[in-house]
């Protein structure tokens, strides 16, 4: 941050350029980090860097943790081609099952929640959600009706 800020140009006739704040903050961030490091090394109490739950080591937890960012990445990658409804239903179903919900509860709930989300954001709040084959078929059906 410090070196990147150093490369920012200064403005002619201005006493304060765009580099001043980033440089100041990078120096302060460095100082505070050093102080925290020193405190943890010299402190009387041995502090742990991370206080993670022990249950994190179970394979189920590891899969659940991995699935949270994976499902967001899955949405970003596939929503534009497969459409919102399919992608969000898959995400909801997989996450609910990973969190130990029963299959026969997760499946209908995933469909209902993603449909409600779609209706709320697409029809009420007018957010242009990504559309795929299912959405297009539904639109045609609603026009036909």
């Amino acid at each position: 941050m410090y070196y990147n800020a150093k490369t920012l140009p200064s403005l002619p006739g201005q006493t304060v350029g765009p580099a001043l704040f980033p440089i100041t903050i990078s120096i302060m961030l460095g100082l505070v980090s050093m102080a925290i490091l020193l405190k943890s090394i010299t402190g009387k109490r041995k502090e742990r860097w991370l206080t993670l739950d022990k249950a994190i080591l179970s394979p189920r937890s590891l899969i659940s943790i991995f699935l949270v960012p994976a499902s967001v990445v899955f949405y970003i990658a596939f929503a534009n081609t497969a459409g919102f409804l399919i992608v969000s239903t898959v995400i909801l179903f997989v996450m609910m099952v990973a969190f130990r919900a029963k299959l026969y509860i997760a499946a209908p709930l995933a469909v209902v929640v993603s449909s409600v989300g779609f209706l709320l954001f697409r029809s009420v709040l007018l957010v242009p959600l990504p559309e795929g084959a299912v959405e297009r078929a539904l639109m045609e059906l609603s026009h036909a009706v």
């Binding site: 941050m1 304060v16 980033p22 925290i36 937890s61 909801l92 609910m96 969190f99 709040l125």
Partner: protein, 497 residues
Amino acid sequence: MLSEVIANILTTQTIIAIIGAAIFGMFMGAIPGLTATMATALLVPVTFFLDPVPAIATMITAVAVAIFAGDIPGCLLRMPGTPASAAYTDEAYQMALKGDAKKALGIGLLSSSFGGLFATAVLVFVAPSLAEFAVRFSSAEYFWLVVLGLSCAAGIGASDPLKGLAMLMLGLAVSMVGMNNNAGIPRFTFGEMALLDGVSLIPMMVGMFGISEILRYATNSKRDFGDPIRSTGSAIRTSAAIIARYPVQLLRGSALGTVVGALPGAGADIAAWMSMGISKSRSKTPAKFGSGHPEGLVEAGAANNSSLASAWIPALVFGIPGDSITAIVIGVLYMKNLNPGPELFTTNAPQLYSLFAIFVIANLIMIPVGWAAIHGGSYITRIPRRIIMPCILLFCILGSYSINNSTFDIAIMLFFGVLAYFLEEAGFPIAPAILGVVLGPMLENYFVTTMTSSGGDIFAFVSRPLAAVIALILVSVWSIPLIWRLRQKGSASITRS
């Protein structure tokens, strides 16, 4: 003006927004792990599509109701629904064990409502006169106010002030991204067009408060709740009679909450902890605390809700957020062309007074909605998190996307969510980072404006009496705790020798 205020409130959109937000707030508050701040962040995409008054009304109502609703799982499961309820969870749980769950929740409901109304009265009377005074402020005074706000944010909210300070710096660093600086030069954009406008605050907050909580749940999804205690005991009328026995505590809690809430950086949870402490130290029967004694409940219940309304005083008058909730609200105010600052009180007076009226309505509507929730409390707290958490994940994605219709914002949400999870597990608080992002651009802007207008004279920051006074207050905020700690160390070493 009164007719304009009434016309603003009595629209179908506003009424539906208030009722919907009250129910939403009740669910968010009653489910442990979902906070009032998360409720506010998830409401932002909805406010995008509402008129200014109903948009802000949803936030006021949802937060006020959520803070009370946090008492429900605290009382029935010994698991506070929001951090603001943590201070008196044990006390309420002990009452529930004695069969007085409804009484404990009734006390929480009525004292919350009173605290909220008390602080609203202060907001209505203090904010306009403070705004009249603030018209005289120049960029130098505002600069010191922002520094004061940042100092409080780093110091008060964190158990370790150094970690709070580090998070504040991180927030300030994030606020530097983009070309929203006086020179208009892109900084830290890494050639990414989407970053030219800076890091979007809402996706960042949705990630930090929503995704991090989902990740925390994912680490141990077995950790669902036990069976709640059946909410037995008598209802609201008895609670009102108990509160009537503690008028001093009720007023003291409301007053302390109002003062704490108005300080930048200190929120409802700190107000409740402080009130609980004061209540115990001033009580005639301190030994009864911890065994299901209602005295502390009355005081702390009033304190956490009163701090919510008073946090709006610095937010509306100076544009400086009192807590992470008002940090989000300030973003929405800008989005709705209700730019906070002293001018708001003259240019948009009817809309502003409509918001004050909504504070009153929110704290009154809380009573029937809360009453219903108390009676169905054990059902609300039984909604399994294995179902709720995936739904929240989907709404986090939807909320982040709908601000700019951009998938880049979803990536921002994910990045900050994962970062916040690890930082929180390492003991770093999140709120200072949010305040850093909100206040960073203001800090730089006021600094550059003062320096430019004075031709680079650094003494311009203290040459005006008002600016000098605020600077002195700032120095004392920094030095008093240091001196106090040094004196404590000194007296401890004398005692030891």
